[in-house]
Every structure is written in C-alpha cells, then in structure tokens.
C-alpha cells in the first residue's frame, strides 16, 4: 500500500496535522491529527510502497515494544488512515 499523494504534514503549536493540499485533494476538507509516533511513521512511509510488516518493523526498530503490541497498533492506525482516505491499497 501507499500514502496517497497531495497530503501535507503541518504543525500548529506543537500539534501535528495532515491537510490535503495537492490538486488531487481539492475536495478533501478534513484535518487529520497525528501523535508523535504516527508522525514518525508518516515521515518514513510517505512516498513509498509498503506492507503492514514494514510498518511494524519501523515501530519495533524505534520503540521498545513487542512485535505483537506493535502489530495491533499498526493495524489500528492503518485502518484509521484508510478510513480517512489517506491510503491507496
């Protein structure tokens, strides 16, 4: 899967948000908030083709977390991103 093009990560007073700014995102009027972990993942995933395993590896490489817990979090996050229209599967 892939993060769709045309999204931009921005910051308001320490809060991280995703806005749709590209031509292809003209009708995207939502603001998606990301926590620090999600920002780390976003920055490492944007523009790339990736699998769930890749994202789990990113988490376990950077944070002290078991693969099992990481996978649950990743599945949760990816389904939220998909629901928000951020992913191409």
């Amino acid at each position: 899967m892939k993060i769709k093009t045309g999204f931009k990560l921005r910051t308001i007073v320490g809060e991280h948000i995703i806005t749709g700014e590209g031509v292809e995102r003209v009708n995207f009027n939502k603001i998606i908030t990301l926590n620090e972990t999600a920002v780390y993942l976003w920055e490492n995933l944007v523009g790339k083709e990736f699998t769930e395993d890749d994202v789990v590896k990113l988490l376990t490489d950077e944070y002290e977390v078991t693969e099992e817990v990481a996978r649950k979090d990743v599945q949760n996050l990816l389904s939220k991103w998909e629901e928000a229209g951020l992913l191409d599967k």
Binding site: K8, R10, I12, E15, T19, V23, V26, I31, T33
Partner: protein
C-alpha cells in the same frame, strides 16, 4: 487607460481599464475608493482579450448554483482562470495571473456579465494574492456588536445569513458588516481584524469598516440549540473550509496555514448546533460576547 484604487482589508488594489465609468457605477466598489498612491498589493488590468491558455485544466469547479471556474498553468508559468456565473452558461470572463498573483490581466467575454466578471476577478485575485500577507477571505456572514465583529461560518445553505438576521432582530445594537465574503487579517501586532468588502453575496452591504474579531461561530443545523467552544485543532479545522483558497499553490497553502494557525490560537471559535430561532441567537450571543 484610467485607474481606480480601492482599499480593501487595508490593502490597496489598483484597477486599470478603458471603461472606468463602468467601475464608478458599481455601488459595491465606490465605498472602497481611495486616493492613496500605493504601494499596491495587486494590479488588475482589463484588456481586450486574454490570449494565453493553460495546457490542461488543473481544477474544474462545477457545482449547481455556483460559478463555474477552471484553473490551470500556462506554458510560461502564469495562472489562467476561466469563469462563468453558473455551470452550463457560456464563459463570461478570463483572467491571467502572474505566478505570485500580483499582476492580473482579465477580459470580459460576455458583456452582459460584466459585473459578475469584474467582481469575481477582483475577489479571486485578492484572495490568492493576499493569503501570503496574513489576509484571509472568509465565506461568512458578519455581525457588528459593541465594536466587535462576529463571524458566522458554514456551508452554503446552512443558515449563516439567517443567523445574522436573528441577531439583528433579537439582540439590540447589532448591525450587519458583511453577508458573504469578509476579509480577516492578522495585524503585525497579532490582533485579528475583520473588514467589510465590496463582496457580500445577495445582500447589498458594502462597508469600508474594520473591527476586532469577537469570535468565529460555525453554524450547524440541528433539532436543538447547543454551543461548544472548540479547542485548537478543532478550531483550525472549523475555519479551514471557510477560507477561499487554492492550496495546490505552495505560497498560498503556506500563507493560509500560518494565518489560520494564528487565528485559531488567538480568537475563540465555537460550534453552534441550532434551530433558526431567537433562542439560538440569544444562546450564541450570551456565550460568545465576553
């Protein structure tokens, strides 16, 4: 060529045309006439025909009941816009903008749509140009009360104007500042100010006045009246869709983000779920005016 200078949102806009008598007949523009000699944030020139074109349209905005607009970039890096008052109507005007939107040339294609074209060219060019100068064109109805401006936001048809009317009818001392397209500016000292403009939708209300912003209120139709203050990101998200924008252009997107962040951190924003009744106006006023 003759010139007319208008001061809108504290910025000077210069119009050049062979037909200034037409501009002088536009009652929405005359309150904003200025004799200042510059600097001009925007130069708009009417020409016989815009001949440059985009390779292909980047954006086509086509929605029943709204102006039809297509935008694209020309081979020389300019922005080309084409507009019609409604979908399916013939093109009424064309505009060619320098990359930073400081220099605009436009032509009126359909003379019967002169007013629509001039107003839309000015409104669009102003919003695109001024986003990078902490100046936002809001889609909003604004009430003046006790020296402050209260901006009602919401999609078309949700009842912004209706809510303004309810304030006018039920809260003493209210006045309409603008009913459709005010300008909000973050001043150098950080104060957030709202200005009346020559563009006010269907309501003739063209006031060259500026007021500190009291609050932003997003109107949502609901079976009962309820108001809630929005926290930072929610406030940003509430303002975001109400600003005229063209985010595929980075300087505009960047300018809008900076200005919206400043507004969302400085001014109180609310969601008002409401019925179109007097109680909604009173609840709103009681909550937001402190």
């Amino acid at each position: 060529m003759e010139n007319r200078v208008y001061e809108i949102g504290g910025h000077l806009v210069r119009m050049e045309t062979d037909n200034a008598s037409f501009l002088d007949k536009m009652g929405n523009l005359t309150p904003f006439l200025s004799d200042k000699k510059g600097p001009f944030i925007l130069n708009i020139r009417q020409i016989e025909a815009v001949t440059e074109r985009y390779d292909k349209p980047m954006i086509v905005s086509e929605e029943a009941g709204f102006p039809n607009i297509t935008v694209g970039k020309t081979p020389t890096g300019k922005w080309f816009w084409e507009m019609a008052p409604l979908p399916k109507l013939p093109i009424s005007g064309r505009m060619l903008c320098s990359e930073d939107f400081s220099e605009i040339e436009f032509s009126v294609v359909d003379p019967s749509q002169y007013l629509f074209t001039v107003n839309n060219v000015m409104m669009i060019a102003y919003a695109m140009r001024c986003a990078r100068f902490n100046t936002l064109s809001f889609h909003s109805s604004v009430i003046k009360k006790d020296g402050k401006g209260y901006l009602f936001l919401g999609r078309s048809g949700t009842g912004k104007s209706t809510h303004s009317r309810l304030w006018l009818e039920n809260i003493p001392g209210c006045e309409l500042l603008n009913d459709d397209n005010p300008v909000v500016r973050i001043k150098d000292d950080g104060k957030v100010t709202v200005y009346g403009t020559p563009w006010s939708g269907k309501t003739r209300c063209y006031k060259a006045e500026e007021l500190p912003v009291g609050a932003f209120v997003r109107i949502i139709q609901a079976p009962e009246n309820k108001i809630q203050r929005l926290k930072l990101v929610a406030a940003y998200a509430c303002l975001y869709p109400s600003v005229s924008s063209f985010r595929p252009d980075d300087p505009i997107a960047e300018g809008l983000h900076n200005a919206l962040s400043a507004v969302a951190t400085t001014v109180h924003c609310y969601n008002l779920e409401c019925l179109p009744n007097a109680d909604a106006a009173k609840l709103c006023y009681d909550t937001v005016h402190e």
